[in-house]
Amino acid sequence: MDKAKLKAKLPLILLLAFIIFTIIFPLIVKDRFLLSILIEAGVMCLFALGFAAVFRSGQFSLGQAAFLAVGGYAGALLASKAGLPFWLSLLGGGLSSAIVAFLLGIVILRMGGLYFSIATLALGEIAIIIAKNWDSVTSGMTGIAVDAPIVKIGELTINFATTKLPYYYIIVLLVIMAALMFWRIDRSRLGTVVRSVAVAPVMSEHAGIHLMKYRVIMFTLAAFVTGVAGAFYVYYLSWVGPPLFSGAQSTVALIMCVIGGLWSAVSGPIIGAIIVSYFGTMMQIHLEGLRPLVFGVLVIVLIWFMPNGLVELQYRFPAWVKSLFKKKGKVPDAPA
């Protein structure tokens, strides 16, 4: 086989290897704490993917956590009040979040740039105030408890309360599905159009692109994914309440996207989300009071050296390795 072909296939092979690795990983490493971090990282992956999708349509949303909340509450209500099964509640969470996003989007996406950001910030706060005070639906601060699903497949009964492994596989599946969707969008005509809208709105509009349509599409899609993530997260924690969805999470999503690399639609947010949630939790456990300082400094340092995010490493790392070997050859030459 020729080298060029192999090289072209390399990313695909690496991706497949990575997916297989994620699938067998919990079977080899039986660390339940790590598993729980990975599950939360998965939720954050979906969240960051949604955030990146909105961002890449040229809008900077500071209230994405509100869609996590809408999805979470919808999922919890569908599960506990309507008694829907797990899968349908996830879907319901995503759909209701998407509907809310669509209705809000056609109104607030008219605002440009920073006005939109701050409007979403305000909406996020309003969502939390509503969640806290709409007792008849959200039960205020008490929140809604969600029973862990019990799935029966033939003879096999999986009780989600006793084992967290199913959650891991479900979130991996969800992340792969969302990643595939956003990857396809990014590579297809829709993605190109959305990028055009983001980088040169006036130009795009005069080239026949209806700005609002594409902004709303991306906002709604992102909200759908975020809503599914919210519903899943609520199932995983088996409870939903207002403190879950603080506005600060939206800025965390931004940090994740930038650390991973904003100019890649899929790999950047996913890498960023995994890195930030893993090290964030590790710092919380090991550093305690020092955590904010170390976290902040690390973020700044990372951005300083890799302003385009960790995805940049795929170009930088091979070049770096090469330069290391080159230098070694050069050193004896230098004195001469």
Binding site: F33, A145, I285, H286, E288, R291, W320
Partner: protein, 424 residues
């Protein structure tokens, strides 16, 4: 060149941190014969970290003193106690849950005590799934259900206590008849749900009228709310806010020319901070708050071994921290909630969580604060009233004066003159 070194350093740091974090659970010390592991989720980062930082050392001293005595007697065995702390900044559910998981999965604790964050409902399922006793405060509300959570107990009756405290304050100031409960709406405590039902009872029993006013979260400027309260006829404020909010409320009330008492809920009232926030000697008059040194009170009966231990803890603390007195609230939440679990283990004669819970549910245990009776009810929380001292301190002049609790529901003893209560 320079950049390269920084990259190398960065990669090394990343790799090292991955290794250490993965290796941490694996590298366990060889276990000595009998060990009882207790975990505690406390805020060590974020705005509440001062409470975690001041409670932690007191709990550690208590652990050290028990271990110095050869361990905790359970049946025929003596257990060495190991105490693990995890950071749970009280406003982050995710962080609380992560803290609970690391305590349970990595440290393999058999109980989590003294937790008071907002993530109760996220932590409880983790504990209950792993049969870890979870001792929390009734203030960390959530969707509690006795059937789903057989291993949750509410060892710190913050809510029950606050009703008693409010009544104590009303009786310390008999000239006032209107009590204004105030809190952030949708904050930690839903005062509407919990206290509205007792309004009538309070009115009947003490002739005290209750009114309510809420303010938004994060409020530092209480002026509009205080003026509104005054118009509603408030004479005593009972706040569920943080000490910061109490102090600011007291100060702004004084600036507006109101002299009402401002009372605070909870064991987290550090008088020094409140005094500072109130701004001046006059402004801080009539601030009432919890004070968890019940041995200072005449009325409270504390088991001798606990009184003894309390004094030893205070001694050790003073030695360790240059003569400073340990933070009073640490006896209220930290050490007492740890003690309740230890009492449960002693009484059950085993560390088996089922046995411990059998003893604790509806059982009566001795603590640093006196005798506790935990409810066996399937209802929310644990109305602990018998013997719970609920000491209030009221700032008068330069010193604080203490008065005893006056339980609302069960024991009906008359209020003792405030000045008689301080032991000489």
């Amino acid at each position: 060149m320079k950049r390269k070194f920084i990259y190398i350093a960065l990669v090394v740091v990343l790799v090292l941190s991955i290794i250490t974090s993965c290796a941490a659970p694996a590298a366990k010390a060889p276990a000595p014969p009998k060990i009882l592991k207790i975990g505690s989720i406390m805020p060590f980062s974020g705005p509440a970290s001062m409470w975690g930082e001041s409670i932690k050392p007191v709990m550690e001293i208590y652990r050290d003193l028990i271990n110095a005595d050869g361990g905790w007697q359970v049946g025929d065995d003596k257990y060495i106690i190991e105490l693990y702390f995890a950071d749970g900044p009280i406003f982050s559910v995710q962080a609380d849950a992560a803290a609970a998981r690391t305590l349970i999965y990595d440290k393999q604790v058999s109980a989590i005590v003294s937790y008071f964050g907002v993530g109760y409902s996220a932590v409880a399922p983790i504990c209950n799934a792993e049969k870890v006793v979870f001792n929390t405060s009734t203030i960390s509300m959530g969707a509690y259900s006795a059937s789903r959570e057989p291993y949750s107990i509410f060892g710190f009756p913050a809510i029950e206590m606050s009703i008693n405290q409010a009544m104590a304050v009303m009786q310390a100031f008999p000239q006032y008849k209107t009590l204004c409960w105030t809190a952030t709406k949708g904050g930690n405590v839903d005062i509407e749900k919990i206290y509205a039902p007792v309004d009538e009872e309070i009115q009947k029993k003490y002739g005290v009228r209750s009114i309510r006013l809420y303010y938004p979260e994060g409020t530092t400027n209480f002026t509009p709310y205080l003026i509104k309260m005054a118009e509603m006829g408030a004479e005593v404020l009972f706040s569920f806010g943080t000490p910061l909010e109490i102090g600011l409320m007291a100060r702004q009330r004084y600036q507006l020319g109101y002299k009402w008492p401002v009372a605070a809920n909870g064991a987290i009232l550090d008088t020094k901070i409140v005094k500072g926030l109130a701004g001046s000697e006059e402004a801080m008059q009539n601030i009432c708050g919890d004070f968890c040194y019940p041995w200072l009170l005449k009325k409270v009966q504390i088991a001798p071994r606990y009184l003894d231990m309390a004094n030893r803890i205070r001694e050790a603390y003073k030695q360790k921290y240059e003569g400073k007195e340990p933070y009073a609230g640490a006896f209220g939440v930290g050490v007492t909630m740890m003690g309740q679990y230890l009492e449960g283990v002693r009484m059950a004669g085993s560390t088996d969580p089922d046995q411990v819970m059998k003893v604790l549910r509806g059982g009566t245990v001795e603590t640093f604060l006196g005798k506790y009776t935990l409810s066996g009810n399937e209802t929310y929380g644990s109305p602990v009233v018998f013997g719970f001292p609920c000491a209030m301190s009221i700032i008068k002049g330069n010193e604080s004066v203490y008065l005893n609790e006056e339980p609302l529901w069960d024991v009906d003893h008359p209020l003792v003159n405030v000045t008689d209560l301080i032991k000489e």
